[in-house]
Symmetry: C2
Subunit: 155 residues, 2 copies
């Protein structure tokens, strides 16, 4: 009577898995946003620092492509980060149109703060999960098909 498929017993209403995932994802985003805001960063800024630290210095367009955001919005993010001396824009000697973006030492320290804060978010969100369950959750989430977004699959 309350959204259960009478045959399979699987929820097919507001408790459907995709709904759960969407809702929890939204709440998680909000938590991340709030947590980062408390130390003065936006989610994009945090992502940028992490991406730069993990993938290494790269051109602005490559960075935008990696993060999946428009080049024109990346400009603003980098302006803010560079204003705080957390990243550095250098012209590529090989192609002087390009800006090579690199994280600075100060940016690395900021990144440590970001990671600390994010760890707190994880701790709060997943407090009721054992380590094994958390690893399991990560494994299952990684198996969710989120790639075939761009191609015309829906058609």
């Amino acid at each position: 009577m309350a959204g259960q498929d009478s045959a399979t017993g699987a929820p097919n209403g507001v408790d459907r898995v995709s709904f759960l995932l969407a809702r929890h994802g939204g709440i998680t985003s909000a938590r991340i946003r709030d947590a980062l805001a408390e130390i003065g960063y936006s989610p994009r800024q945090g992502s940028t620092l992490m991406t730069l630290a993990e993938t290494g210095k790269m051109s602005q367009q490559a960075l935008g492509e990696t993060m999946g955001i428009d080049p024109s919005v990346l400009v603003g993010i980098l302006n803010d980060l560079e204003g705080g001396e957390l990243v550095e824009r250098r012209r590529d000697p090989a192609d002087r149109r390009r800006h090579i973006v690199a994280i600075t030492a100060k940016g690395e320290r900021a990144l440590a703060d970001v990671r600390t804060v994010l760890a707190g978010v994880d701790r709060a969100l997943f407090a009721d999960l054992e380590a094994g369950e958390l690893a399991q959750l990560r494994r299952l989430l990684a198996k969710v098909r989120t790639k075939p977004d761009d191609p015309a699959c829906t058609e």
Copy 2:
């Protein structure tokens, strides 16, 4: 070197679980939105139909509270749904200020379409998960602490 905690081996960068959850949640929301849009509904309209079918007829304010949306936006949603004769607003005889919102027979049929479409989204998203894994994912997601959002926990 790429976002792994050297001690625990747990990701603490862009591959952190909360980030995974946030990203996948966003993508899932987009998928749901697109899928519902193809049959002419918004996510809110779909949620409204499901909530009404699962919880039964209720006052507008109770509905808004259940769905976690502002009363003033619920008005527009219900206007659209009522325009399509999918829901019905009746005045509560006991309190003629109240609007009792109920799903109609036509709304039930629309709801069936909505559920079909959403099942398709689930199938596409979770194609690589076995039934057991999907159930496991649902179980783990349900254990994520998303309630302590409202109270002043962050302070």
